[in-house]
């Protein structure tokens, strides 16, 4: 009892000693001693300020009526005019629902398959076959989106693409996949799955190899089948990783790629292929009279929703599963 009291007084004393001022002085000493670290940081810091943070201030253009003379800082204020215009425009419903449907479709479709591939590869009896499959399934990740879309156009071409050739060979009708608004989402999502499947499985394969081998050995001694080992050892083992990745992709779901949607777009499939990002690009940069403020407002609208989504998903996950991003 007495000892504990003594300990507490010592602690209190030392806490009192390191007052705020002392700590500040210590920090300054640390900065002086490590000045070279700050010098190293100058260029990266300048980059962040100019190319990442200044545009955040520039986003105020969404609340102004941009004109060339005034620029970002001098154009007259317009309040929420551009936001209300977007929300009330006939495009709003279509662009929003296209973005959301496409995003969540992709999220759901591309989550489970890499896990299945990783589990399958993990139990493949032939090591050489496993290496080959890994090598080949990673490769599409390195193909550019332009090439991917070019590839899709060649494969799916109505007149002489191999897919349609095959359909005809099997007695079906040739389909215009690329010009069909009902096919756009499936093409978009499943081509992403094709491209990212192998690469996304890397992390699961690595997690599976990190599972303690004793668990498997014990299970084998107890006569567990491979299926049982997958269910009771492997799946619990990769679950935390899967949850983190799912949070990450749910939080970023609205950042769905502009490039592929834009490349796959054509006048025939616009009904489903116009998403927020392509709409912003067209309004802001492609239009004969660029509407910078209007386009910036739409972009900001998306960014704010995206940020809110990320924070919400992270908070929920922290409460439910103790896995969170920060």
């Amino acid at each position: 009892m007495a000892e504990q009291l003594q300990l507490e007084t010592t602690l209190a004393k030392s806490a009192a000693a390191s007052t705020f001022r002392d700590r500040a002085a210590e920090r300054w000493r640390g900065r002086k001693k490590g000045w070279q670290l700050y010098v190293l940081m100058i260029l990266p810091f300048a980059y962040l300020m100019i190319f990442r943070y200044y545009p955040m201030l520039g986003a105020q253009i969404a609340f102004r009526d941009f004109n060339v003379v005034g620029g970002i800082w001098g154009s007259p204020w317009a309040g929420f005019k551009h936001f209300t215009r977007f929300v009330n425009s006939y495009m709003f419903g279509r662009v929003m629902s296209n973005t959301l449907i496409l995003s969540f479709y992709q999220l759901v479709a591309s989550f489970p398959l890499p896990i299945l591939l990783a589990l399958s590869l993990n139990y493949l009896p032939s090591r050489r076959y496993r290496k080959t499959v890994q090598m080949v399934t990673y490769a599409p990740h390195f193909i550019s989106l332009v090439v991917l879309v070019g590839l899709m156009i060649q494969l799916l071409a109505m007149r002489n693409g191999p897919v349609n050739n095959l359909i005809e060979l099997l007695g079906g009708q040739r389909q215009n996949f690329l010009g069909n608004p009902d096919a756009f989402r499936h093409l978009y999502v499943w081509s992403t799955v094709w491209q990212t499947l192998g690469y996304s499985s890397i992390i699961y394969i690595a997690t599976l190899t990190a599972i303690a081998p004793e668990l498997h050995e014990a299970a084998i001694v107890d006569g567990a089948t491979i299926m049982q080992r997958i269910r009771h050892i492997d799946i619990p083992g990769i679950l935390p990783t899967a949850v983190i990745l799912l949070i990450l992709s749910t939080g970023r779901v609205l950042e769905i790629g502009f490039e592929k949607a834009y490349l796959l777009q054509n006048p025939l499939n616009l009904r489903t292929s116009e998403i927020i990002q392509t709409f912003v690009y067209k309004q802001g940069l492609l239009a004969p009279i660029p509407q910078f403020s209007y386009a910036a407002a739409i972009g900001l609208f998306r960014a704010v929703i995206g940020l809110a989504l990320l924070l919400t998903v992270n908070a929920i996950s922290r409460r439910v599963s103790e896995s969170s991003l920060w």
Binding site: G34, L40, P44, G58, I72, L124, Y138, L145, L310
Partner: protein, 298 residues
């Protein structure tokens, strides 16, 4: 798993089903690639008539000859190599400069700078403000516009920092400091020589990003002589599509040219992807490592 040789009956069934599943994945990923490769070495007419599947028909290299004779494709190649080379050097230099101080426990304002990087994950100014910035810096339609706006990827900074934290023992720093070695020299002569794998990883990541980059060029460049390969590819592979499908030409020479143009697309897909596909098996073991480092929370 390779050590286990005794399978139960159930496991034997599992192995058969499992091998079938993997083979299905394998086929689905591989088939389009093999088809394109086969078509690129085939005769144009055979491709158009749909006689090519997974093996070249009437083997020839006309498509490749057309690719290498196409002046705009060659200029796109040259430009892309330039953007990739210079851009990656800038990227890697700045990333290491940022990552090293962030890896140091005694860097007083570490958390502040770290937060600056992490916040860029969550929020950005958006397309229009960034475009207006590049415009007001006078970088519109310059090569600099493809290099500086994306000079640092925050994610790469974080994995590089984590690598430094894990592989450079603090005793090494303390010993060096005892001998009067300052931070610049420590970074240059101790940290960098120990960081081969991570430099390889981020170099690969950045190089692939530059090679495949198309959006930046689309919005910032007007002058066609500066176009990277991806923009040229878009014109040939994507935009030509509608025109080729809609116009019906029946003059014989036009038809031949039309056929060659179709064949060229297949060869072009192969040639344009080759640099990255050839590069990656060499660095494969490194990037698996890179992904794992990135997955650790730091």
């Amino acid at each position: 798993m390779a050590t286990i040789t005794k399978y139960t009956t159930q496991d034997k069934v599992f192995n058969v089903v499992n091998t079938a599943i993997v083979s299905l994945f394998f086929f689905v990923v591989l088939a389009p690639l093999v088809y394109v490769l086969a078509a690129s070495f085939s005769d144009a007419l055979a491709v158009i008539q749909g006689r090519v599947w997974f093996w070249p028909v009437d083997f020839n290299v006309e498509g490749y000859r057309a690719v290498f004779r196409h002046p705009r494709i060659m200029s796109g190649f040259a430009n892309s190599f330039f953007y990739m080379g210079v851009g990656t050097i800038v990227n890697v230099t700045l990333t290491v400069l940022a990552a090293y101080p962030l890896s140091r426990k005694d860097f007083v304002d570490k958390n502040f700078f770290m937060a600056l990087f992490v916040f860029t994950f969550m929020f950005n100014g958006g397309l229009i403000p960034t475009y207006l910035l590049v415009r007001s810096l006078g970088m519109l339609d310059t090569r600099a516009a493809l290099i500086f706006p994306l000079a640092i990827g925050a994610w790469n900074v974080i994995i590089t920092r984590t690598y430094f934290q894990q592989t450079i023992p603090s005793e090494l720093l303390e010993a060096a400091q005892m001998d009067g070695c300052k931070d610049f020299r420590f970074l240059w002569s101790v940290v960098l020589p120990l960081s081969g794998p991570i430099i390889a990883v981020i170099t690969l990541f950045y190089a692939v990003q530059h090679w495949n980059q198309f959006f930046q060029a689309l919005i910032y460049l007007r002058d066609e002589s500066k176009y990277p390969l991806q923009l040229i590819l878009r014109e040939i592979l994507v935009e030509n599509q509608v025109a080729a499908e809609m116009t019906d030409m029946d003059i014989e020479s036009m038809l031949l040219r039309q056929q060659l143009r179709e064949l060229l697309k297949y060869s072009l897909i192969i040639v344009a992807s080759a640099p990255m596909l050839l590069l990656y098996p060499f660095i494969q073991k490194y990037f698996v490592k890179g992904i794992m480092i990135g997955s650790l929370k730091g």
